[in-house]
Point group: C2
């Protein structure tokens, strides 16, 4: 029933600590904090147009997080894990008015000059972003619950990035209203609870080497989703910058 | 931005009451309580094999309800509606251990003789069931939030069916352990809250005739999803019965 158990991998299982170290090694090599677009964001090198492009396209990813979490929730065999996973959806939906990750990201959209209707309109999403995110949702639908859960482990590497983002964006982009960063401030508070649930769950349930390798591959795949998202934004940003330079020349 | 508003329909909007009457007319004509398989279930004519086939295949629909609800949640413009919609996901996930629609449906699966692993294994789902349910999730993803919300209005017709189901199944299928019906008993308690939210929302937001017609079409589509699901189960049930008759003859 569990496809990962059918993969032939006769090697002995890694110890949970060695397995977790392998997960961290994937993040060190492949997490999107090292993507050129992200490096430029943190160095203060993005134009306002580029920052806007990122905020809107990344929202397509944000909107699909509760969807892939609902898929994972319905796959989890244990009620206690389903209930822990429900808190992730609650974090994005908001338990009270005017809260929740979706609301905070819409505020970022407004802070960079979009209306909420524009942010919610999928037709403006870059094709590369759409495919990367849709692939992620499909991965969670098709793979075992353990692989789907393991794909969320990019959040192991998020706290450092989020903390730096709040500081770097505040410093380099003074035109951005402070509420534009509520999402990142809020995630710094929410994410430790998610990690406290998911890390022991994956360490415990990935019992065989084959399961561990499937989890490592799932995390590698997810790093690729986030990377491809920034690839698409970077290409569109450069094309848009070239167009503006062309417009400047024709004006001169 | 809202595709429904671009449909040319110059007729005046229906009054909210006339609009709601049209919604009810669709249910009266097209809801799956009139499907031959459902009629046979309530008349006590299903074999245990047929009942099992239905319980397992319908679970694929059940598992996708929180997924389509997460999609709708992320589309809803108002935080207060997102939070109301979150309660639907909570109802299926379960706020406490051993509760929730998914848990109750797994108990039905166990009551008809499946393991939980078998119930969660999508590979056994009938192709027609899979396509009907996947179409529904896709509909909620692609259409406006108002159409996606309106597609849930089959629940207008559910309370009558659920109440009859508890009574009829208890009477006709004495081999089914009582906990097999927990899902239906529980939905009778949960669903009024959903209706109290969704009916005023759709009445209020479907302002133009075009929007009202789009909602009516969405409800018609959704009735078709539930109908197609039972079509697929009915065809497989008849094929399985014919196979058993063949086996009986060859034994004689």
């Amino acid at each position: 029933v569990n496809p990962t158990t059918t993969i032939a991998d006769e090697r002995p299982a890694l110890s949970p600590d060695a397995f977790e170290a392998e997960l961290h090694a994937i993040g060190a090599a492949r997490y999107h904090d090292k993507h050129p677009f992200n490096v430029r964001m943190h160095a203060g090198e993005l134009t306002q147009v580029e920052f806007r492009l990122w905020a809107r396209n990344r929202f397509y990813y944000q909107r699909n997080i509760p969807v892939k979490d609902a898929i994972i929730l319905t796959k989890l065999p244990e009620a206690v894990d389903r209930q822990a996973w429900l808190l992730r959806i609650t974090d994005h939906a908001g338990a009270d008015d005017g809260q929740g990750g979706l609301e905070y990201w819409l505020r970022l959209g407004e802070a960079v000059g979009y209306t909420r209707e524009e942010m919610r309109d999928d037709t403006g999403v870059l094709p590369g972003v759409r495919v990367a995110v849709d692939d992620y949702v499909q991965f969670c639908k098709e793979r075992t619950w353990l692989e789907a859960v393991a794909s969320s482990l990019t959040e192991l590497f998020a706290p450092d990035l989020l903390a730096r983002r709040v500081v770097d964006v505040e410093r380099h982009y003074p035109w951005l209203p402070p509420e534009g960063l509520d999402y990142f401030r809020n995630r710094l508070v929410q994410q430790p609870k998610d990690l406290d649930h998911v890390v022991p769950l994956v360490r415990r349930e990935a019992r065989t080497r084959a399961q561990q390798e499937a989890c490592l591959a799932a995390l590698d795949f997810k790093c690729g989703v986030l990377w491809r998202l920034l690839d698409a934004v970077e290409v569109a940003a450069r094309a848009s910058a070239a167009e503006r330079r062309g417009a400047d020349w024709s004006d001169s």
